[in-house]
């Protein structure tokens, strides 16, 4: 019978990489209730600088709620969030953004009637002074958006309406929007749902590149392959709690998958490796 204990080889008890610097993000005792339903119950989690953490769990396990607490969509009912060692309270997505936490939502949260550049800069428009008035600097925003799109290795007109783009292109607009403002942490909720294999490969390259630039990644997915291919650490959520943590390449892939499934479902699974 195999163990479902978290792997602690070079991590502390909440799983973050240990070291002199405080973790980028530290959640302690996070609880989130919706009426009588407790979606998160006392979650402790740390995310280190330039670390990529994969959150996996069944439908309704609380993984999306967890990232939404981190991105400021849901203020926690109880518990504390520390960012670079100081207490923060995210009451809105704007609070999280101000701390350099960007989120790519499962449904992408784009305005289809606005163009690519307008979406990328939505809520953070560049403005110029015209006498006493502050007007949108549309040219500066288009130019910066075009540069960001080109940096992602893509080629489409930033003045095109988002509603006219393909699913993959929209996904990349959401990525470009998150990256435009040099985030310190990027949260992604099911980012591969609308992507082709080629686009997924491109996204993984991007994440690797972001990590090398010191950006922390939190990836929510129900696909084992997503998590295994890109994450330094896997956190399994079940029933609003952290069911366990592990490192993806600590065990043979089949055993890792079986361990993740065990943690997700709470049932023991027999594999060749554990038999």
């Amino acid at each position: 019978m195999m163990s479902i204990q978290p792997s602690n080889s070079d991590t502390n008890e909440t799983g973050a990489a240990t070291g002199a610097r405080p973790p980028l993000i530290e959640l302690s005792g996070i609880t989130k209730s919706f009426g009588n339903v407790e979606a998160l119950s006392g979650v402790d989690l740390q995310i280190g600088e330039a670390e990529s953490v994969g959150i996996i769990g069944d439908n309704g396990a609380g993984k999306s709620t967890l990232v939404k607490v981190l991105s400021g969509v849901y203020p926690p009912t109880n518990g504390t969030i520390r960012f670079r060692g100081r207490d923060v309270r995210f009451n809105s997505p704007l609070d999280a953004r101000r701390n350099g936490i960007e989120m790519i939502y499962q449904d992408l949260a784009l305005c289809e009637d606005l163009d690519v550049a307008q979406n990328i800069f939505l809520g953070r428009e560049i403005r110029k002074n015209l006498g006493p008035f502050k007007l949108l600097d549309r040219r500066a925003m288009s130019r910066a958006a075009a540069e960001e799109i080109a940096n992602l290795g893509l080629d489409f007109d930033v003045e095109r309406e988002v509603g006219m783009l393909s699913g993959g292109e929209r996904q990349m607009v959401a990525v470009a929007r998150a990256l435009q403002f040099a985030p310190s942490a990027l949260l992604m909720d099911e980012p591969t749902a609308a992507l082709s294999a080629e686009k997924i490969r491109r996204l993984w390259e991007l994440i690797t590149d972001l990590k090398s630039r010191g950006v922390s990644i939190l990836l929510v997915s129900h696909r084992f392959t997503d998590i295994l291919s890109i994450c330094d650490r896997i956190v399994v959520v079940r029933g609003g709690r952290i069911a366990g943590q592990m490192q993806p390449h600590e065990h043979p892939p089949a055993q890792t998958m079986a361990m993740m499934t065990e943690m997700m479902t709470g049932d023991r699974i027999m594999t060749e490796a554990s038999a």
């Binding site: 997505p93 289809e112 163009d115 428009e125 003045e159």
Partner: protein, 325 residues
Amino acid sequence: MNPLSAFLNARIWGRGASAINPGLVLATIVVFVVLCFASPYFLTTNNLLNVAKALVIVGIAAAGETVVIIAGGFDLSIGSTMAAAGMLAAYLLDSGSGVGPAFAAAILLGICIGMVNGTLIAYFRINPLITTLATLAIIRGLAFVISDGREIIITNKTWLSLGTGKWAGIPIIVLILVAVYLVFALIMPRTVFGRYVYAIGSNARAARLSGISTKRWQMAIYITCGATAALAGLMLAARTGNARPAAAMGFELDVITAVILGGASLKGGRGTILGTAIGLILLFMINNGLTLAQVPSFWQQVVKGFILLAAVLYDEIRSGRSDDG
């Protein structure tokens, strides 16, 4: 994309959400040409000035309504706000106030009505149609109660001159309309306010997740509509020479028809102030044509209803095709 779909979604000016659809321009040109041939009186300076003067009042209110509809909202209370604003200014003038303070108070009343609508819609999440239907009834009712149903004759020359005076041969009231449209034509594409109006109408959740305080902006949007309705009410009183609690009854139909005809989508996110201006011209040319053809006014009402239906159907078919394509 098939040819019909391509035509319905084509644009002749502007991009994306602020594109002007060729169908609207084509319809306006066709109606203009038909009227030129159908009536010798249509293409005369006097008649065209009459058309312009007639559309001014609806036009000013339509500017604010355009903003509300692009933001995915709706405001039915404009006619009542117009009457209440006119009554308040007339009452204050009668009580010895100056024109400036009386006008400021009337606009402030419009702003307050917009705040009430905005609060109920944004913070209490009551459907805009129901909210503004209720405020329509409340404001109109209060205007009748307070005035006891009596009208106030306007004697102030400055106020009346706005409705009858001319500057360089152009009625002042038309110049006011042009000024209002120039201001909105600048605000909508070039300011954060305009950008957020489109964003909220297109996807309010995405706007909120982008850090935009959608409730506060929704409030600002209804305040804008209340203020333009109040201004329209002052101009209506200037033209008619009196302020009545029953003024501007049913104006909502003309205002909303012009806005939808102008290409603003009831689903939100799309529309332009220029489109509304063209929609107004089209609507009032049709009205004028019917008057010149001596069609009884009851029938004109029927025609207006059909025009609104046609505009909504056009919008529905266009957006339905966008979704499919």
